[in-house]
Symmetry: C2
Subunit: 359 residues, 2 copies
């Protein structure tokens, strides 16, 4: 649903229509200058040949250092989506299930279904401030549960669970012997910095350069996982995507040196925008206050038909994502706060205006 | 086996060892200058954002024109390998089978197995000049046959089947209602130019920019297929690789404008190298004369142990691919002719020398 909307908008844009895209989690900040320079230098050095399906050693070593593991635990992927696809494919057989906390990134569910596995959706509530009910989690686990997915901060809520809550999930997963896949795409965007996770026996880390570094269209991410899983992922790369372009890996390898500084900068941007957005939307909508970037996930007043609202909004040149793309949240919308303040303010004012119109 | 060898050599190279890599089908010619320029311009224009999972319209339209179809038939992929993986995944369920003429690119077989489908290998013989026995082909097809793969020119033999032979396969596939997947990675390298295939109802075309344009590490290819298959492939892209970097698509879109001229140039290079190689190898080995680039697939004298031969060769700083990576051809080796003439001649002389040593 999210992807269909996206394709529809690409089409509108191809036809010359201008749309303010608050439907897509795409940072407006540019990648580090040094990444561009390294890309160009690498091309000039002829680093555009076939290469290892594991990824370049230099980059894998830097990533391994972040996560307290070895380069052989790290596999470079064209975006974290491919990493997540691989990890789900490697863990889920037909009729197995994966635990997914909802609202959730639609790809998890779609990937499970494409593997003929069952996404076992644990619906969380905004009224509970998205807290996880551990009793329900324990009940949801059965002998066919082969993976638990934790996306914290979460897309679409931008809610990062507390460190104790996360630790409890990890411990529970460990006790049950079920690998925990952590999708850390947004971790650098926590308003209060959280350090990189350290790789444990039971942990599968997926991450991307897209959000922190604004490198969405560069298509580069990674997984950090136990060595035998990494080995299988390399084998899967060999028969699918082969390798990520080396010149892009070199650029990412340069970018990662600036991670601390860069993340600090974008964290501030995210926080400021979230405050601005909250200040405007509070006039007409309920939402939980995020503790990370990039999104708000407000609830529309009950009498509003979300479909009609989204169409009206699109007629006004603004796209946001429908809540039911992320689970059973049809009264919600996901607003991506990825625009400069002036544009963002105007767009958010318009959103409130259209809410008022539709009421 | 091919990929393990490759990873082993990347490791040796990381350790500082120099290897003349005749094991890998990687052209030594550089991509068109205009492709580099367009890549840089596109980056400067900020064409590095999330984009359509189908690929950029501009590029898809140019490809569609080549194959006499519509842009909606074309999906851009990170290399043809991903295109082939998708097409096999979309056609093969567990226990279905795919007909593969052998010797064959190992990825076909590995992909089938990863999908729990059966690769049905039709072994061809160098003594028959790799001719296809139509009676065996008809016998091999059963109700579980869901796709036939034709790779002409073939990796590893560089044999392109005659146009009549190809037409016969197409007709047979059509009559049986079995889609024919044509992997045309090497088609531009036929010593006598063959025009691009026109998309038919029963045809699935996969191609890459890697070989013709020497853009191996740029990871860009495409499929041209019936619209409903393209639609499914886009959906699969959405949950896996998302999209190929737009700046790379723009570069490919520029490159394709020079396809005729560029292909003409590399065709001549391939032809000349094949002649040189044949002249040297004929001293000690049997092989069929290729009618396309990039390989020779000679047979070692019977008394030579191929494993021992390859190790000796690697000690001499030269890698070639073992024949059994491509099917039951353990006495063969695949030599990639992707080096400048002086280097190639020296390496081929050395290969002959090592054959003599091992005899």
């Amino acid at each position: 649903m999210l992807y269909e909307l996206s394709e529809k908008i690409y089409k509108l844009e191809n036809e010359g229509k201008r749309v303010i895209r608050l439907d897509i989690g795409e940072p407006d900040w540019r990648p580090p200058e040094s990444a561009f320079r390294t890309l160009l230098d690498s091309l000039e050095d002829g680093r555009d040949r076939y290469a290892s399906a594991a990824g370049e050693l230099e980059l894998r070593e830097k990533i391994a250092e972040l996560h307290g593991c070895d380069a052989r635990n790290v596999v470079i992927t064209p975006g974290s989506k491919w990493g997540i696809f691989m990890l789900l494919k490697l863990h889920l057989k037909s009729r197995d299930n994966a635990i997914i906390f909802s609202p959730h990134w639609p790809a998890y569910e779609l990937i499970c279904k494409s593997l003929k596995a069952n996404p076992r959706i644990l619906k969380l509530k905004s009224e509970d401030n998205w807290r996880i009910n551990f009793a329900s989690l324990e009940d949801a686990i059965d002998s066919k549960t082969k993976i638990i997915i934790l996306n914290s901060p979460c897309n679409p809520t931008s809610h990062a669970w507390g460190e104790r809550e996360e630790r409890n999930i990890m411990e529970l997963a460990s006790e049950r012997g079920i690998p925990l896949l952590v999708d850390d795409a947004y971790r650098d965007l926590c308003f209060r910095r959280r350090k990189e996770r350290q790789l444990g026996d039971n942990l599968l880390i997926a991450n991307t350069f897209s959000k922190t570094f604004g490198m969405t269209g560069w298509r580069i991410g990674y997984i950090a996982v136990p060595a035998e899983i990494a080995h299988k992922a390399v084998k899967l790369n060999q028969i699918t995507i082969n390798n990520v372009s080396v010149f892009l890996q070199m650029a990412a390898s340069k970018a990662i040196e600036e991670k601390m500084k860069f993340a600090e900068k974008v964290r501030k941007i995210c926080k400021r925008r979230a405050e601005i957005a909250a200040g405007i939307l509070v006039r007409r909508m309920h939402f939980t206050h995020p503790n990370a970037g990039l999104y708000l996930f407000p609830k529309l007043p009950e009498r509003i038909d979300t479909g009609r609202f989204l169409r009206r909004l699109l007629e006004n040149g603004i796209a946001v994502a429908p809540g039911n793309a992320f689970g059973e949240y049809k009264q919600h919308i996901r607003i991506s706060l990825c625009k400069r303040e002036e544009i963002l303010k105007k767009a958010l004012d318009k959103i409130v205006e259209v809410v008022e119109e539709c009421e």
